[in-house]
Structure formats: structure tokens, C-alpha cells
Symmetry: C2
Subunit: 197 residues, 2 copies
DNA sequence: CAGCTTCCATACGGCAGAGTATGGGGTTAC
DNA sequence: GTAACCCCATACTCTGCCGTATGGAAGCTG
């Protein structure tokens, strides 16, 4: 699939656009301006093409959105798997997980955009699956850490809530980004407060 | 202002709509379906009227949004003042604040809707002011509680992040609402983890 | 009862985007 | 070479909303 018709072109120019290209650009657009900004004609203009191409690859806007979200969910799944395979002690694994996720950017922006439309039929299910998967991972690690089951569940919700909320505050520019000096100190504070009981 | 022309009507029927009515309904619509759903014609239909009325009261859509948000910000300010005037010890005041805010609903839904469009020129400033005010309140209380200044600031950010994030998870239906049994236990867990050091 | 103001209905023009229809250029296959 | 197919451009209709223009039905005012 995605077999380019002319492989002999010199530069990085693509001869034609694959569905994957559309999906990738859709995700980028979502990350930048949110779900509402994902419209066919602007997206086509952004790709330097007309919508005639789009409607050849996709039946409609919703199908593009669904495919793009599926792609995003797949990436997120893989990121979780990577964190899981880091087979150290649960406390360090959790801290490492927090540090690792605090370094992402694109995925975060997309996640925030999706959170803005939790009732959309294309978005809700994906969003719920991703969120639940992540929280389950946290709860399991906290449980393994020694917290009672109920406590672990609550703590997982608290940890994840603070993560999601921080993303929101970042979008408002009210809280340091990962490059600014205070950021690391904050993450350290979070780890001390929520993990190292 | 807003002097009703016919005060002698028997029921709750209003003779004519005031700007305050439009703003209130706008807030309700925002709480239900988000900022993007705030459009003039649907809002007029919702009020059983046509947009001819709207454009008599307001210059345009943005002005309605601004006025409605100003009204909402005013309410939020008042709520903070109420919490501040509860002049007990800082720990109890914080716990009380958490409990109190955990009982709101409409304000929360509006806040979540606003968080979805932090870059909108009408929304951003209001959102930032409200958020900053709340966090400052938390930081002051935590500082008064005895935490070092830096710790207090981080902890305030953490508390507020967890609050915002919880709202997001509620919108996804992944976390108990204030009526469900687990909710109180969770709030208690939050207080124990984040306040009662 | 005029006359004025207030509030709303109706009708209009304009714009942006969703889909659809159709044709055409380029490549591949035979 | 030519037929078939892939990919895209162009032109079109349709829908939903914005904002405006204008007129009309109420109410107060004198």
C-alpha cells in the first residue's frame, strides 16, 4: 500500500498524497487549532491542493477524523507499552513515566483538543479508551507500590487529573512550559507529593 | 435600566427580553454545548424569537459573548469573596473551599467550555484573570498554612491542576459526579493528600 | 388621537464550507 | 500506441450562519 507511482523523483517531493498524509496533516491541524478547525477545504489549501483530491481518498470529513484519531490512539498505545516495559521498581517507573510524559508536546496538544469535544461521536470513544488505559496503568503501578486498592484508584485519578489540568493551564500560558526553569522543580514537587508518600 | 414596560402581567411571562436575558441564555448554551454553539440564530430560536431582536440589543455576536463572560466572571469573583470571608484556620478554610467548589455545576461547565478556546480574544483574558485569581487564593492559603513560598506556589498549581483535570474527566464520564457515592471519598482523599501534609 | 420610542418579524445579500459531478493530465499495462 | 486507471482540478448546488434593511405592532407621552 502507499506505493508511490514515481520512485525516481530526486528530492523529497511526493508525486501524490496518500491517506496517511491527509491523516497526519489533520492531526497537525487539530494540534494547532482544535477540532473545529479541521475542515476539508482549509486542510486541502494547507496541503497546496484542492478538495477534489480529498473526496477521492475519503468519503467525508468524519471518516478522516476517525482515521486520524485511530492513528493517534495507536501512537499513544505504543508510548504506554514503552513505559510498561521499563521493568524497574514501581516507584521509579512511575517517576520515570511522569518525566517521560512531561516531555511530549504534539500528543498533549491533540489530547487537549480532544478533551474540548468529549461529546463528539467520533471523539468520545477514542478519548475514553485512551484516558482509561492511562489511568489503569497508573492505578496498577500505585497498587504495586503498596497503596490499598481504593487509595490507589483515587490517587491514580488525582495524578491523572493534575496532568490533564496542567495541560489546560499551559494552554492558557499560566504555568511554565517544559523549557522554562520552574518546570522541572514543579514536576519534582508533583512526584514528591503524589508518589513518594 | 431593564425597566419592564408592563409589570402587570400575571404569570412569569416577560413582555420583552432584556440584554441580561440574552446573556444568561448565552451562558446556559455555552455550558451545554460549548463556545462554538453560541450562534445568534440558534440562540434566538431557543428563546422563541428571531434574531431581529438580538441585533437590536447587541451590535454582534462578540459583544454578547463579552458581556456574558463579564457576567460570569462577576459571579465567580463573588464566590471567591465568600470563601475568603470564611475566616477560620487556613487548613479548614482550604478544605471548606474544596468542598464548596466541588458542589458547583453550572460554573464548572462554563469554565470547561472556556478552557477549550483559550486563544479566543474574547475568552483568553477573562479566563486568565479568573484562573490566576483562584490560584493566587490557593497559594496564599497554603503559604499561610506554613509551606515555604516556592512549595506553596507549586502546591497551588498542583491543586488547581487537579481540579481542572477532574472537570475534564467528568466531561468524559470517566470519574464520579458529585451525586455518586465515590465522589465524597475522592474529595476526602484529595484533601488528605494535598492539604493535610 | 397623533407622534414617538421600543422591541421584534421578515426579507435580503453575502460568505464559507460540505458534498457532488465531471473532465483531464499523467502513469501503467498490454 | 491505446486503453485503463489513478489522482486531482474545476464548477456546481446546498445548507447554515452573519449582519443589514425595513416595516410593523405594541406601549407611553402630550
Amino acid at each position: 500500500m502507499a506505493k508511490s507511482s514515481t520512485e525516481n523523483n530526486g528530492g523529497g517531493e511526493k508525486a501524490s498524497l496518500t491517506p496517511a498524509d491527509w491523516e497526519q496533516e489533520a492531526l497537525a491541524l487539530i494540534a494547532e487549532k482544535g477540532i473545529a478547525a479541521l475542515r476539508v477545504e482549509p486542510l486541502a489549501r494547507r496541503l497546496g491542493i484542492t478538495k477534489g483530491s480529498f473526496y477521492w481518498h475519503f468519503p467525508g470529513r468524519d471518516e478522516l477524523l476517525s482515521k486520524a484519531l485511530a492513528r493517534w490512539e495507536q501512537q499513544d498505545r505504543q508510548h504506554l507499552r514503552l513505559s510498561l516495559s521499563a521493568g524497574s521498581a514501581p516507584a521509579e517507573r512511575l517517576a520515570d513515566f511522569v518525566w517521560r510524559t512531561s516531555r511530549q508536546t504534539l500528543t498533549h496538544r491533540i489530547y487537549v483538543a480532544l478533551c474540548a469535544s468529549p461529546d463528539h461521536p467520533c471523539i468520545g470513544p477514542v478519548l475514553r479508551r485512551v484516558t482509561e488505559r492511562r489511568i489503569k496503568y497508573l492505578a496498577a503501578a500505585l497498587d504495586e507500590l503498596g497503596l490499598p486498592t481504593t487509595e490507589a484508584r483515587h490517587r491514580a485519578n488525582l495524578m491523572y487529573s493534575s496532568y490533564v489540568g496542567y495541560l489546560q493551564l499551559q494552554a492558557q500560558g499560566l504555568v511554565p512550559d517544559k523549557d522554562e526553569p520552574d518546570f522541572d522543580a514543579y514536576v519534582q514537587h508533583v512526584i514528591e507529593t503524589l508518589i513518594e508518600v
